[in-house]
């Protein structure tokens, strides 16, 4: 590197989608010294009076995962794919390095919890009563490496559950109730959704989206098209749609008409000419502060962005059917794409050149922040442990002075609260932990309860092909029933019974060992069973509950001596009642389609509850959300709507942890939208900082 600065303007912890988006947007802007304003690179020209923003990112995962030059990134990624081929249990984390120095929660570590003894297997310490069922991965690019890529937006009512449905929740350790509205609404977030959809590269058709909302779709989307055309729905989707079209499901709240909607997705299809030229996200200076806009100033047509090592690979989804855990060609978006754009900029000759003002330091596990009480409670230091090799657990203790820098915690929703809770400081009123004057850090841990139902379609529908899911049933995403029980979204799954029944392996085993079949009969039985398998999901919204939480405890440390996340987690009747209704909905749809139900929930399932005498089981959705919620006041939330910590003037905390409620959409798009919005506030802070 030809230029390094000891003093950094911005420190970002984590290279997942939130950290990468901020790094990309900040590195696209420079400080115009003459005007005293941040301006986009494209508008800076060759002015001598600009100052670059210096950025340092920390990543807990291995160096190799962050080497983004073409050869190194291809080598590393191919290693992931080879690992995936050979792993027996092809769970979301299976392709990626399982590091002892930066361990990841893994679904294979989940066990039944016999209270009061926690499940200590793996990384999380789970006190229960229910095990938290989702995982994440600490690797360059973060959990977007194994996300499915489904990108619905939240619905307007998701942002105002109290106002609309009168839902309130308990204050921490109190009987008192408190509202749970977001500090921003859908309308406010809409332009940032468009920016997120641009950056992720969303494929979809606005005219085919249909939701149970009060607003008309024109108001919901405005005059808008997605960057790329809709991802084709599966053959199976067509068969199910044919059978359900125009029908409704009867719940206690009344008849609910079925809407089968092609899902918007963060995977490459064909760029839509109507989307127009490619765009840039740029900050427009206001009298005070900044407004980000999606500007159409570039000359090129919008192009799908392929793999990090070769833009011509993965320009279209080619149907690998392995989106989770890994897209071999990176037609599915992952945060490494955004990170590479932050790290490499076009020079005068339109060649990509390494950005000397940005540095990423891998194998660096940030574990604590220092607070300077003599300077407005600024974050004055970030502490980390840097391990030297994959094999060894010895480490170098490092800290960086951040008193003149902006600190952005962009680790995931387990890691952000873990770091904050591990950052105590003594005040006149006793010991506090960073950003936690509201006592909301680590609380309100949420996930979607994924209740699965599966069966055999009366004719072959040929599953196990295409992206994980291409259609969802949106009918239950909103409605008056939300006063009583959770809303849900129902994706149709294109991969047979793989998830609930470990198919096709379990089918092979069953017909061989239970039915003693061989030869032509075995072949026929398997063909028959496997080509008719259908799987419905019911992704059930969980409300924020202050008792569902991440804490730390000095009895549970990882090999670097850093606290492991300690989880307390349970379900309330609100979610269980939704499972009951979702099962009713499933039964009615299966009956109408002639699907033979093979759904089976047993006490041996990891997450299983009895409700009204009936057993329901669920899985995690990988939607780890809510542990540093945003809000309107410092009393009831950790950050404001720009993800800025109420308690510290130079600290931002970003990611899914900011979500006030979960809604029924996959959270990545929404967290991307409000993370992009947070850059407006970061730029304003940087302006003040750089003027000094």
């Amino acid at each position: 590197m030809n230029q390094t600065h000891n003093k950094k303007d911005v420190i970002i912890v984590g290279t997942g989608i939130a950290g990468s988006l901020i790094a990309k947007l900040l590195s696209d802007h420079v400080f115009d010294v003459a005007k005293g304003k941040m301006i986009h690179r494209a508008d800076a020209g060759k002015s001598d009076s600009i100052k670059e923003i210096s950025i340092l990112m920390y990543e807990a995962g291995l160096e190799a995962g962050l080497e983004l030059d073409s050869v190194s990134s291809m080598t590393t990624y191919n290693e992931y794919i080879r690992t995936f081929y050979r792993e027996e249990a092809k769970v979301p984390n299976s392709p990626y390095p399982n590091l002892k120095q930066a361990p990841s929660p893994n679904v294979l570590d989940m066990e039944h919890i016999v209270q009061p003894f926690p499940d200590k297997k793996g990384y999380l310490v789970q006190f229960g009563p229910m095990p938290f069922a989702s995982d994440a991965i600490r690797v360059g690019g973060g959990t977007t490496l194994h996300w499915l890529g489904t990108t619905p937006r939240m619905l307007p009512n998701d942002f105002k559950l109290t106002e609309k449905y009168g839902i309130t929740i308990h204050k921490p350790d109190s009987k008192e109730k408190t509202p749970i509205n977001w500090p921003i609404d859908y309308e406010e977030l809409r332009p940032y959704y468009e920016m997120a959809e641009f950056e992720i590269g969303v494929s979809g058709d606005v005219s085919r989206q249909e939701y149970p909302i009060d607003e008309n779709m024109e108001k919901y989307y405005g005059n808008y098209v997605f960057p790329m055309e809709e991802i084709p729905q599966s053959y199976m989707d067509h068969k199910i749609i044919e059978g359900l079209k125009g029908t409704s499901v009867k719940l206690s709240s009344g008849e609910i008409p079925l809407m089968m909607v092609p899902s918007p997705q963060g995977r490459n299809s064909i760029p839509n000419p109507k989307y127009g030229k490619t765009k840039i996200i740029k900050a427009e200076p206001k009298e005070s502060g900044y407004k980000l806009v999606l500007d159409s100033s570039e000359k090129e047509e919008y192009k799908a962005l392929g793999s990090v090592w070769n833009p011509y690979m993965g320009e279209r989804c080619e149907g690998n059917a392995s989106c989770v855990p890994i897209c071999p060609v990176q037609a599915k978006y992952n945060a490494l794409k955004t990170l590479k754009k932050a790290l490499y900029k076009l020079n005068d000759h339109e060649n990509l050149k390494r950005n000397p003002y940005m540095q990423i330091q891998a194998q660096s596990v940030v574990y604590r922040l220092s607070v300077d009480q003599n300077d407005k409670d600024k974050i004055s230091k970030v502490h980390l442990r840097r391990y030297t090799s994959k094999e060894k657990t010895d480490f170098i203790e490092e800290s960086i002075d951040t008193s003149d820098a902006i600190v952005i915690l962009a680790a995931n929703a387990f890691e952000n609260p873990k770091i904050l809770l591990n950052s105590p400081y003594t005040t006149q009123n006793g010991v506090k932990t960073a950003a936690n004057s509201s006592d909301q850090v680590g609380r309100n841990l949420m996930d979607h309860m994924v209740m699965l139902t599966w069966g055999l379609f009366p004719e072959p529908v040929y599953p196990y092909r295409g992206p994980g899911s291409t259609t969802n049933i949106s009918s239950f995403r909103d409605g008056n029933f939300r006063g009583e029980f959770s809303a849900w979204i129902s994706p149709l799954d294109n991969w047979g019974w793989g998830w609930p029944a470990f198919s096709p392996g379990s089918d092979v085993a069953y017909f061989i060992s239970q039915e003693n079949l061989f030869g032509a009969e075995l072949r026929e039985a398997l063909t028959n069973r496997l080509s008719k398998q259908v799987l419905f999901h019911f992704e059930i919204e969980q409300l924020p509950n202050p008792n569902n939480r991440v804490t730390i405890n000095d009895q549970y440390m990882d090999v670097l001596g850093i606290p492991r996340p300690v989880i307390h987690y349970e379900l309330t009747e609100y979610e269980m009642k939704a499972m009951e209704h979702a099962k009713h909905a499933s039964d009615q749809m299966f009956k109408r389609l002639g699907i033979k139900d093979f759904t089976k929930y047993t006490a041996a399932d990891m997450n299983s509850v009895m409700y009204n005498g009936v057993r329901y089981s669920y899985n995690g959705a990988g939607h780890i959300v809510g542990t540093h919620r945003m809000g309107s006041t410092a009393e009831d939330s950790v950050t404001n709507s720009y993800c800025k910590a109420w308690d510290h003037p130079n600290l931002y905390i970003v990611g899914a942890g900011n979500m006030t409620t979960l809604g029924t959409s996959n959270p990545t798009l929404t967290l991307s939208a409000f993370t992009i919005r947070s850059v407006e506030s970061i730029l304003a802070d940087l302006e003040i900082q750089l003027k000094k």
Partner: protein, 148 residues
């Protein structure tokens, strides 16, 4: 049925028995099995993994069945009684079928190729996830080779 091919080396009399009994057990032709590119790998893998005497017994029983059965039906019946009906033989047969179908032996993939060439994907007109991808939009229609 005639057993004429000797593969690996001249002494390895049983390779062809292995392939022929695999055909009868898995329900895929020897040609289909050969086209995985894994026939010899699998044979040597089983040789290494099972006690030699056990595998030889399995192959000897198989050889007798194959040589003494004059048609499909007879072969099927013989397999039923002498392999499927015999606990020890049945266990080996199940492992061999699973190896062809999934590419695994006792739960582990034999190599990268064995994952990709699992025949279970062929019979459902699909492909192993993450490999042999069929191309954009292919999932939107009935599989081209479904013949139905």
């Amino acid at each position: 049925m005639n057993i004429i091919n000797k593969i690996l080396n001249v002494d390895d009399y049983y390779f062809d028995v292995f392939m022929s009994i695999s055909e009868a057990l898995a329900g895929f032709t020897v040609n289909e099995l050969q086209s995985t590119g894994l026939a010899e790998t699998y044979y040597t893998y089983v040789l290494k993994s099972l006690e030699a005497a056990t595998f030889v017994e399995f192959l000897t029983v198989s050889k007798n069945i194959l040589e003494n059965s004059s048609g499909e039906e007879e072969l099927k019946k013989a397999i039923q009684s002498e392999i499927i009906g015999n606990a020890g033989m049945n266990e080996i047969a199940g492992k061999v079928i699973t190896m062809w179908y999934l590419g695994t032996w006792e739960g582990s993939y034999i190599n990268d190729l064995s994952y990709k060439e699992g025949l279970v994907w062929n019979l459902m007109h699909s492909h192993p996830p993450g490999a042999k991808q069929p191309g954009y939009k292919s999932w939107n229609i009935k599989p081209v080779n479904s013949n139905s």
